[in-house]
């Protein structure tokens, strides 16, 4: 990211229509893979992990190429992404409570 500098910045704007098209086709293909997976009747947790995994991959492609983060200074990535992932991770602390609530409701 930081090492690419001006040349990569130019490439990101000027000479990489092919790259953007490849990224876009990848996104569409992953979308259809997701729809296919949705009909395979996996257990809910397996299904969720597979779909979220593919969605994170799609989000990464969008942020890196369409939003040009790959061509920005690495400092921008370090400032924004780790803190965001940490905050999202902190939100998952609510899930043990949802399982407790499910257990209570099933008992009554």
């Amino acid at each position: 990211m930081s090492g690419h500098g001006e040349a990569a910045h130019e490439a990101g704007h000027e000479g990489s229509y092919r790259l953007f098209l490849i990224v876009w086709i990848s996104l569409v293909v992953i979308t259809f893979v997701e729809v296919y997976i949705a009909y395979l009747e996996f257990p809910a947790v397996t299904m969720l992990l597979m779909l979220i995994g593919l969605s994170v991959l799609k989000a990464g492609l969008i942020v890196a190429y369409f939003m040009h983060m790959r061509f920005e200074k690495f400092g921008l990535f370090l400032t924004l992404v780790p803190a965001t992932i940490f905050c999202i991770g902190m939100m998952t602390v609510i899930f043990p409570d949802s399982l407790r609530l499910l257990h209570v409701r099933l008992l009554h």
């Binding site: 704007h13 000027e14 229509y17 953007f20 098209l21 876009w24 996104l27 569409v28 979308t31 259809f32 997701e34 729809v35 997976i37 949705a38 009909y39 009747e41 809910a44 299904m47 969720l48 779909l51 979220i52 593919l54 969605s55 799609k58 989000a59 969008i62 942020v63 369409f66 939003m67 040009h68 920005e72 200074k73 400092g75 921008l76 400032t79 924004l80 803190a83 965001t84 905050c87 999202i88 939100m91 998952t92 609510i94 899930f95 409570d97 949802s98 399982l99 609530l101 499910l102 409701r105 099933l106």
Partner: protein, 209 residues
Amino acid sequence: MTESHSEAVSGAWSGGGSPYAMGSKKLGMWLFIVSDVMTFTALLMAYSYSRLANPDWPRHVFPIRPAILFSTTMTVVLLASSLTMVMAVAAAHRGARGPAVRWLLATMAGGLIFCGLHITEWFHLIEEGVRLFSNPWGSPLFGATFFGITGLHMTHVMCGVIYLGVIAFGYGTSRFSDEDVEVSGLYWHFVDLVWMFVFPMIYLMSVKY
């Protein structure tokens, strides 16, 4: 502190420089996007919490026709609009105002098609009896979370269409610069990015086999 070290530190912190090598508009949009990520994450977490905690949550409600067919088409349309947005930004960086405005208009058309398909899909569910606080299948929270999350996303798309319209007009009349087009592109891609999580978590996790 050596003299060269002192110069390097003062160079970075004495003001006037841009530590991220970008304008304040672009950095501001990135910070807004991070805050909006938190909003949508909180909503999707609340949805997941409610789904997990309710034994009577409607888990298989979206048939392939029309719901999955519509939502998949909406995803492809939104992705296509992201590609046209990339082309608009590239044209703006080349200084080609005409093509940039045309690509922006194509992006807006993509957003409008998305909203049209989404509203049609909403009406399918409303016809089946799904309301904000009730539905024929189970936990009443389903309607609230479904309409809440997809509604907030659709609001973002509609605001994006208006935003792009303003930018297209301003850039076409030379009031705005290519940076403004790029910043609006960041917003549009973010709206696309959010849908990449809403689509699998709301629709694909609840397909009717």
